[in-house]
Every structure is written in structure tokens, then in C-alpha cells.
């Protein structure tokens, strides 16, 4: 009956998502009322211009973050890495910044392409750095990735200061949905599309997690699948950064939780991952709006608090249960081997 449990979880998750979506549409400074949305044209306008786009944006961003996190974890064979904090997110910001500085009048789609290409480059460089690392120390790549992201973000700050854009950067990089209106979030549908693309190659990605040689032996075109997945997750990350800003930890935490429920078969895991990602971001956004109503807390801040706690739990879980997370027990014997720096 193992397959029943996830599907039941999936259905109850879906129900919860419905409830949260209705709640999200209902919350705002102006009280819409159920009947108002039918009769009052102003209320209808708020509904379609603000509330619905905002809810959709949270759903799309959350699902995209979680799916791209899981794809990245397969590609680098490490559970503690996600694109948003491991270079792709910061690179996307760098891309937008450079386009803004070099071609101030550039259209949004130019920025979008710039961000995607930069995110792609950032991800590829990280993968090249991590590639030679032995799997015996699962936390080391996570550390390298986090610092790598930090370095790129320092480059972004430096350029922003030199280009007199620092003010703009601070408010813009922290992910929040308060600026989402109709016409200002549609890029996220591209992120949604890229997530679907990754679902389509899910089986082959799963095989890739067995190791490149094993995957090749099973007839997987390793180069093509890797390229598709990297491109997909770069596009997702770039679209989210461009339209709502950076949202950390979702891609780290959610795949780890769903892998415990469904295992690592991506075809089964990805839909649940997407659902949980959407739940987490939408839930956090609702919380961010309610806590100090009518003011808002950026969703990234709320997510960061929740995500950092969950991440601490993940990396410090009891070693006995860590086997399930694909963590090599050799790491715990590490100190005797000379783990000093």
C-alpha cells in the first residue's frame, strides 16, 4: 500500500492549497465580500488585477522553486543545494543588473534573457566546481555552494554601489509579492512551463541520479538531459528573481521533505514537491500579510526564518536516520581523519 499513502497526502495537500488560495484571495486592505465580487465592479477589478495575480504568483513561484531545487539536487548529487542560494539566484540578479546598467532602456524580455543566461552560467560554474568533490562529505558542497552564492552576491553589491543602484537593489532583491499586479507577474508562467519541462524528463533524471555511467548504460542521453535540466532550473530561477525577487530555502527544504514521503523516483516525487513548494510559499505569504496587517512583511523574510530552522534540522538530523538522506556515514568518522582546515 506504499503508493496509497503519497496519493492520500497529495489529495489532502491539494485540498489545503485550495483553502489557502481562497484565503489568499480574500485577504487585503479592502474587504471584498463574497457578493461584492459579483456586483461591485471595483471589487471585481481588485480581484482580477491584484488578488488573483498575487495568489497565482505565489503558487507558481513556490512550485518552481521546489522543483528546480530537486532537479539541482539530482544534478549535483547532493541534497543540501538549491539554485536560489547557490549562485543561480545571485547570478540572475547580476544579469539583470548588468543589462540595466549597460542598456537602461532595455525591454523586460531583454532583462529576462540576460537573467536566464547569467543564471545558467552561474549554475554551470558551480557544477564544475562541485564535480570533483567526493560524495563522502555531503555537507562540504553545500558549504561551498552557499559561499559561492555569497561571493556572487558581493559582486552584485559592488557593481550596484559603483553604478549608484544600491538602493534599488536592496528593495528589489528581497522576494515579496506586494508589487504583483496583473501584467507584472506573467513571466512566472514561463517558470511554470520550465517546471513542467522538468517533469517531462523526470524518469531520465531519476536514472541520472544512479550515476552517469549507469544512466548511459540504460540508454539515457546524459548530456542532453543534464543540459535540459540546467536550462530549466536556470530559467525558473531567473523568472522568479526578475518578477518577485529572491526567495531562499524553499528549494532546499521542500525536496528533502517530499523525498522522505515518496522516495527519489522523480516522476512520483515532483508533483508532490511542486505542491508542497506552492503550499509553503503561499502559506508564508498569507502569514506575512496577516501578522502586521495592514503592513506586510516580505515573504522572503518569513520563508527564511522557517526555512533556516528546517535546514538546521536537516543538516543536523540524527546520524542514524541520515542513511535515508543519502548521506555517507564516512563523514561522521571524519574528525579522526584530520578534518581541520
Amino acid at each position: 500500500m506504499t503508493f496509497r499513502t503519497p496519493s492520500r497526502i497529495f489529495l489532502s495537500g491539494l485540498a489545503l492549497l485550495m483553502i489557502l488560495s481562497v484565503l489568499s484571495i480574500g485577504i487585503g486592505v479592502s474587504d471584498l465580500g463574497i457578493w461584492g465580487t459579483f456586483s461591485d465592479p471595483d471589487a471585481r477589478q481588485i480581484l482580477w488585477e491584484v488578488r488573483v495575480p498575487r495568489t497565482l504568483a505565489a503558487l507558481l513561484a513556490g512550485a518552481g522553486l521546489a522543483v528546480s531545487g530537486q532537479a539541482m539536487q539530482i544534478l549535483v548529487r547532493n541534497r543540501f543545494i538549491e539554485p536560489m542560494s547557490a549562485g543561480a539566484g545571485q547570478s540572475a540578479a547580476l544579469g539583470v543588473l548588468l543589462v540595466t546598467l549597460l542598456v537602461p532602456s532595455a525591454a523586460i524580455w531583454v532583462k529576462m534573457v540576460g537573467a536566464s543566461l547569467a543564471a545558467l552560467t552561474g549554475s554551470l560554474v558551480l557544477m564544475a566546481i562541485l564535480r570533483p568533490m567526493p560524495p563522502t562529505q555531503p555537507l562540504l558542497p553545500a558549504l561551498v555552494a552557499l559561499v559561492y552564492g555569497g561571493v556572487i552576491s558581493a559582486v552584485v553589491s559592488f557593481i550596484a554601489f559603483q553604478g549608484d543602484l544600491a538602493q534599488f537593489l536592496g528593495s528589489w532583491l528581497t522576494g515579496e509579492f506586494s508589487g504583483v499586479l496583473r501584467g507584472r507577474y506573467e513571466l512566472l508562467w514561463i517558470a511554470g512551463g520550465a517546471s513542467v519541462l522538468m517533469y517531462l524528463i523526470a524518469d531520465r533524471l531519476t536514472l541520472l541520479s544512479l550515476g552517469e555511467d549507469a544512466a548511459r548504460a540504460l540508454g539515457v542521453n546524459v548530456g542532453l538531459i543534464t543540459a535540459t535540466a540546467v536550462a530549466g532550473l536556470s530559467v525558473v530561477t531567473a523568472m522568479i528573481v526578475v518578477s518577485v525577487g529572491s526567495i531562499p530555502f524553499v528549494g532546499l527544504v521542500v525536496p528533502n521533505l517530499t523525498a522522505r514521503l515518496t522516495g527519489d523516483n522523480l516522476r512520483r516525487a515532483l508533483p508532490l514537491t511542486a505542491l508542497c513548494g506552492a503550499l509553503m510559499v503561499l502559506g508564508a505569504d498569507i502569514l506575512s500579510r496577516l501578522i502586521r496587517f495592514p503592513y506586510e512583511i516580505p515573504v522572503a523574510t518569513t520563508v527564511a526564518v522557517i526555512g533556516a530552522v528546517l535546514f538546521l534540522v536537516l543538516i543536523n538530523r540524527d546520524p542514524r536516520s541520515r542513511g535515508a538522506a543519502g548521506v555517507n556515514p564516512a563523514a561522521s568518522a571524519d574528525r579522526k581523519g584530520g578534518s581541520h582546515v
Binding site: R335, K336, G338, H340
Partner: protein, 250 residues
Amino acid sequence: MIRISGLSHSIAGTPILRDIDLTIPRGGITALIGPNGAGKSTLLSLIARLQKIQTGTITVGDLTIGTASDQDLARTLAVMAQSSHVQARLRLSELVSFGRYPWNRGRPGPQDHARVEQALERFGLIPLRDRFLDEISGGQRQRAFAAMAYVQDTPYLLLDEPLNNLDIAAARDLMSLVRDMADTDGRTVVIVLHDINYATAFADHLVVMKDGAIAAQGRPDQTVSEALLEQVFGTRARVEILQDRPVVLV
């Protein structure tokens, strides 16, 4: 004399030591042996105050572990730990001179220098004195740690599996140095050993542990037998007497 009474210890609910009463005589070498997980190293680390005592008491000479001052204990009891991995980048002679710390609190005088010189000489470390610890072999490093314990000038010396990862030459070499410290300087040595044959060859007194309790103790020739091997270690092996001491044929 080291007296242990009513000593119990558990880690995460699992009992490691069960109500141990043991007296380790003054002088000579006492070896703790037993199968993996018998609690030998835990017992040694409790005497060495590397872990906190949960129940029971341990006295070393007239000092009680847990109440005596750190400095008094450091002048009474030297410890050579299992993994002697040092983070700091040290030269060998610098490491050895740390053995004088309990006496000089980090401010070495002429006497301390002379003592270190003597130790380097005695342990055959003069040619290696300016080498960094990560540049010498495992056997040489263990010898350096032994020299460090030697200059600490304590009546008691504890060693936890010092022969790990040493080849036969380095292992025999180290054990003769330890033997010599017991004979010439009258130190009381307590050592955890894996290899029973090393224990019977070098120790005066054996303490055999199993499942956190003392299974047997006494002189090597009166303790090690085929019956003991089967009972404690769960293996049938022949024991021959060669030159008056028991040897396990593996």
C-alpha cells in the same frame, strides 16, 4: 593505586559500563583488553576525565576525579589519547615541551628545557625535533606523544590503543618505551590494547572486559586461556605457552 567503585555509564540510554569495582595496582603495566564495545576505552576516558562520571567514583592516588583541581590531576595523571590529531601546526620539540605545561603553565624555564632535551634524547627524537607533526610517520608521532607524556612527570600514565595503525616495528618500539617508563621510572601505566599478544608480552596485569563489566583479571599467564577466548571473545583459538607467556595462535 587507581580505585574504581560503583562505576556505571550509559550513552543515549545504552549502558556502556555496569557497576564496575576495580583496583589497579601501583607500578607496572595494566592492560585493558576485551572485544569491541566492551567499554575499555570508555573506562579509560572516565579515568582520564575526558568524559564526565555519571555514577560511581574514581580515585587516582589520593585524588578524586571530579573534585581534585585540574592542575593537581595533570601533575598526577598523563593521558595519551586515541586519536592524537593536532590542529595546530607544531614542531615535534614544541609538542614535547607542552608536556611541561602542568608544571610551568606555559612559561618554560631552564629546567623544563633540560627535561625536554633529555626526553628527546631518550626517545630517539633528536633528528626529528624540528619537523612538523604532519611531516613525520605515524610511529614517530606516537613516539613524540609518548615523550610528551613522559616529560609530564606523572606517576600515572594512560594510553588508549596507542598501537592503532602502527606497523610491527613501530608498535614493538613504542611498547618497549612504555615498558621502560614503567621499569626505570616506576610509572603506573594503564593501557587499552586490541591485540592480546601485545598485552601478554608487555603487561604485568590484565583486566579483561566484556559487555561493560570485568570478566577476568590477573597475571597474563593465569588469565589468558582458550576458555577465556571462547567465553569473552566468542572465538575458538589455540593458546600456546612460549617462553613462559601465553600466545594466541591466530
